[in-house]
């Protein structure tokens, strides 16, 4: 293959593209959409995080300002955990608006993460959201198809393909030249968006987040470049195999609709259909059932707690709980918290496994649908996928558990046992000593692990696409 011939053909495709009306309309539209999504994305990220950080601080302040009191009252006073947005949520909104943002953390009870944007939205949310990533995933592919459907098919229709070959240009050169031109066009959109994102990443990467953010950014950039290379290949392949340009366009539009709109949604719906999940009330019933089976702290004759009591009495060599050197009620609550938390976690884990089964149908379809691969990958590396949310949730739950158990421990150590004399409250210094809720983000290596399938599928697509390009170039029909 001669490089200069390929460049010449690529440049020709560029020239034609910039002369066409489609490109003008597309560029105008893209500039508008880019500005709109960057602005709304940034505004949303900034305002939401500002509000949430403010409230998180307020929550901590009021926690510390509580007067001296009984530690169990503080366990009920509890705390809140507010989810913060990752800076890359400006790029890809992912599930951001469909997961909750705030959770109340109290003793004895795992609350739901509430106040998702979805729960405060109208039915419009289901039409989707505009974000920079959405432009790259949904709109630009369509533009690539628009700009490239005629690349080879029209040359053949016009008879110019025959001329090119007659002039001694090899088929391989024609195919790669056209491909390079189209791929180059798509990179205009890609780079303008990623340049903007780089700016956001740089100004928001403080507190040692820099390395993490930049590596996420780099993975996203490479993935999208590969994705666009694959899309350009598909376009050129379809164009090369279609008799007419019109046929190529209709096929490409069909592919777009199928892969971007219809298949992902149908598979997700199918997953939901195949693996039903319990409603909350059903799960709560199951949790309560298991809890009573294991040990019911309300029931004075419960065998579990009776055995526990006997063993504690035995260890401390005393006759009755009143003689124990610590607050027995604090001890029982600590045990109850441990038991109920384990059982709840167990049920929750099972629920998430069903979710995973539901999602896997779509996730594995990445091997036939590159859009799915990039969709999942993009969300995950932007910190807006379900796993990132679960990470926050598990951090919040750990904090809740530690808070409750710390208060139980304080009660055991400092509050006099039943029947003993002594103060019923402890100093508020103990609240100040309990650290505030903070959480980091899922590490990049963990994200890689979560997205193994998507990455593998995308790479495989890259290989297949390259192979396909090599193959057709030898089989390209001139007429």
């Amino acid at each position: 293959m001669r490089k200069n011939v390929i460049y010449l053909l690529a440049r020709q495709l560029w020239k034609d593209a910039f002369r066409s009306k489609v490109m003008h309309v597309a560029l105008g539209l893209m500039v508008f959409l880019l500005v709109f999504s960057a602005y709304t994305g940034w505004e949303n990220y900034h305002d939401q995080n500002f509000t949430r950080t403010g409230i998180q601080e307020e929550v901590q302040e009021s926690w510390e300002n509580n007067p001296d009191k009984h530690p169990h009252r503080m366990a009920h006073y509890g705390s809140f955990a507010l989810r913060l947005k990752h800076v890359l949520s400006v790029f890809d909104l992912g599930m951001e608006n469909f997961v909750g943002n705030a959770i109340f953390l109290e003793a004895h009870k795992q609350n739901t993460v509430n106040f998702s944007e979805a729960s405060m939205s109208t039915g419009l949310l289901r039409f989707g959201e505009v974000s920079l990533a959405m432009l790259l995933k949904v709109i630009v592919p369509l533009l690539i198809f628009y700009l490239g459907f005629a690349a080879i098919a029209r040359e053949r229709e016009n008879g110019t393909l025959k001329l090119l070959i007659g002039q001694g240009i090899r088929r391989k050169e024609i195919v790669f030249g056209k491909w390079l031109g189209l791929f180059g066009l798509s990179l205009i959109f890609l780079f303008s968006i990623f340049l903007l994102v780089l700016f956001f990443v740089l100004i928001e990467s403080h507190n040692g987040m820099f390395q993490d953010n930049v590596s996420r950014y780099a993975v996203l950039l490479i993935s999208y470049v590969l994705f666009f290379a694959i899309l350009s290949t598909i376009t050129i392949l379809v164009s090369a195999f279609s008799i007419t340009a019109k046929g190529a366009l209709v096929k490409l539009l069909g592919i777009w609709l199928l892969f971007v709109i219809i298949v992902p949604k149908s598979l997700q719906a199918m997953g939901y259909y195949l693996y039903p999940t319990p409603s909350k009330i059903e799960m709560e019933t199951a949790v309560e059932h298991d809890l009573i089976q294991q040990g019911d702290s309300h029931n004075p004759d419960d065998p579990h707690f009776k055995a526990l009591k006997d063993s504690v009495l035995l260890v401390y060599k005393v006759e009755k709980v009143e003689d124990l050197p610590f607050s027995y009620s604090g001890f029982i609550m600590a045990q109850g918290e441990k038991l109920s938390t384990e059982i709840y976690k167990d049920h929750q884990e099972r629920l998430y496994q069903v979710y995973q089964q539901q999602n896997n149908l779509e996730r594995y379809s990445a091997f036939v649908n590159p859009y799915t691969a990039i969709k999942n990958l993009s969300m995950a590396f932007s910190g807006t996928d379900f796993k990132s949310f679960l990470y926050f949730k598990s951090k919040a739950e750990t904090y809740r558990y530690n808070l409750a158990q710390e208060m139980n421990q304080l009660q055991m150590d400092l509050i006099p046992n039943k029947g003993k004399e002594g103060p019923n409250v402890i100093s508020n210094n103990y609240w100040k000593e309990f650290p505030p809720f903070k959480y980091d983000l899922l590490s990049v290596s963990k994200v890689f692990q979560n997205e193994k399938i998507s990455i593998f599928a995308l790479l495989l697509w890259g290989v297949v696409a390259f192979y396909g390009l090599l193959r057709i170039s030898t089989n390209l029909k001139a007429i």
């Binding site: 705030a102 739901t112 419009l124 709109i139 539009l253 709560e284």
Partner: protein, 446 residues
């Protein structure tokens, strides 16, 4: 003439593909609706059983202390599901169908969500509404984009013009057959849904029925409009798909972004903190700090004496209520904001048939935002009713037996529904008339 047009249409590949696609996806969407109803039914049964069992069990433990018993007991209010919701699931997957609350502060309980897979929430439900709003237009586009250009490109147009008197009439007939076919499938699917999902043939069903018909008319007129410019097939395909993307993806999504950003709801988070603090701080204050406010809200309990030095249930539930009062203002502001989001969306939707179809489907099916807000209002009344019913018994330290627990099965909230025909049908009808007229004017030049 017609029989020939029918025959040639039935022989096209697009006819077969459309038929199979619409029927398959349509039937799947109805099955998904069915599953949605089954899931609701199961949840309701579970809630009813849960409530009964939990009353029984807790009665065993706390029979002598009604105040403590009511600390634990949860009472369920269920939004009476209507089968028509299965056609347009709307926001009813995000918002819970039922809420089980104790008589403690409501504000901390009423926003609890149900469990739902966020991936599913994000991709949205594949209900019949989706099939109508997204897929029917696509099929129409596929069948009409080359209505004229195909004849031109195949070279049959000149023969046709020589043989028929009205060229425009010919195109209209050709279009008519295609629209007729789409309507046949649409009506078939709607009636099938009606049967399979046992939806009563009431006003709400007919509203969705007519809105769907109008919506398909809108796309037909739009297709005709684009075709009437007599461009080539590629141009038409490109233009129509672009219009489809703009109407079903870009504009609604942009309006949504705009609405979410313009009307942010930090009040939701603020109210949550206010409620907790409003309640908890009272523990560290004089009893009067609670009771003054409580007696102001409920003067009928002024006769009760509240012991200063020890715990009493009137003080406890008084404190709980003070939490709700502390958050009330912010909570109301939050509701207003959410309503504002709805109002603005609806206003914009009047001009965009896709958005209008979705919002009016949801509204008629009772699965919209307003439906949920109404339910929350109902929940507040329900909670108040429970409290006022239990308060005197608790304050009098009555035993648990004094309550007739048979009356405390899970309750149903019946949503009020009425169909605003003008709002539902007029906007789309108006746009159809304009678009159709423009297309016909264009065709006269043929």
């Amino acid at each position: 003439m017609y029989s020939l047009l029918f025959k040639s249409f039935f022989r096209t590949r697009i006819f077969l593909i459309s038929l199979v696609l619409l029927i398959t996806v349509g039937v799947i969407s109805i099955l998904i609706g069915k599953q949605y109803l089954v899931k609701q039914e199961k949840a309701i049964l579970a809630a009813q059983e849960f409530q009964q069992k939990s009353i029984e069990r807790n009665l065993d433990y706390h029979n002598d202390d009604l105040g403590l018993l009511l600390y634990y007991l949860r009472f369920t209010l269920i939004k009476q599901p209507s089968n028509i919701g299965a056609i347009s699931i709307g926001q009813s997957d995000v918002n819970p169908l039922l809420q089980a609350v104790t008589i403690r502060g409501l504000e901390g309980q009423k926003y609890d969500t149900d469990f739902e897979n966020p991936s599913l929430l994000m991709s949205g439900n594949l209900d019949l509404g989706f099939v109508i709003i997204y897929l029917f237009p696509l099929v129409l586009i596929a069948m009409t984009f080359n209505l004229y250009s195909e004849e031109k490109e195949l070279g049959t147009w000149r023969i046709l013009t020589a043989q028929t008197s009205g060229k425009a009439k010919f195109l209209l007939k050709k279009l008519g057959i295609r629209i007729l076919f789409v309507f046949a499938i649409l009506i078939f699917l709607l009636l099938l849904a009606n049967g399979v999902l046992s939806i009563p043939m009431n006003e709400n069903f007919w509203a969705i029925f007519l809105q769907s018909i109008l919506y398909v008319f809108f796309w037909s007129s739009l297709c005709l409009f684009v075709v009437s410019f007599r461009k080539n097939s590629s141009f038409n395909a490109l233009a129509l798909i672009s219009i489809w993307v703009v109407l079903t993806v870009l504009i609604p999504a942009m309006v949504n972004n705009y609405v979410l950003n313009t009307y942010q709801v930090p009040e939701a988070l603020e109210a949550m903190v206010e409620q907790r603090d409003g309640y908890h701080e009272k523990w560290d204050m004089e009893k009067d700090a609670t009771m003054t406010g409580f007696f102001e809200a409920y003067p009928q309990y002024k006769g009760y004496t509240v012991p200063e030095e020890e715990f009493s249930w009137i003080w406890y539930y008084g404190m709980q209520h003070m939490g709700d009062l502390a958050a009330e203002e912010t909570s109301n502001e939050m509701m207003e904001k959410v309503m504002l989001r709805n109002t603005v969306s609806e206003k914009v939707a009047l001009f965009i048939p896709t958005m209008h179809a979705q919002l009016s489907f949801n509204s008629v099916a009772g699965t919209d935002m307003i439906g949920h807000l109404e339910f929350l209002k109902g929940l507040k009344e329900f909670h108040e009713g429970l409290r006022v019913n239990f308060y005197p018994k608790v304050f009098d330290n009555n035993p648990a037996d004094s309550v007739d627990w048979q009356n405390h099965a899970a309750k149903f909230y019946k949503p009020t529904s009425y169909v605003n025909w003008v709002y539902i049908l007029m906007p789309t009808l108006f746009i159809v008339v304009i678009m159709g007229t423009l297309a016909l004017l264009n065709l006269r030049k043929l």
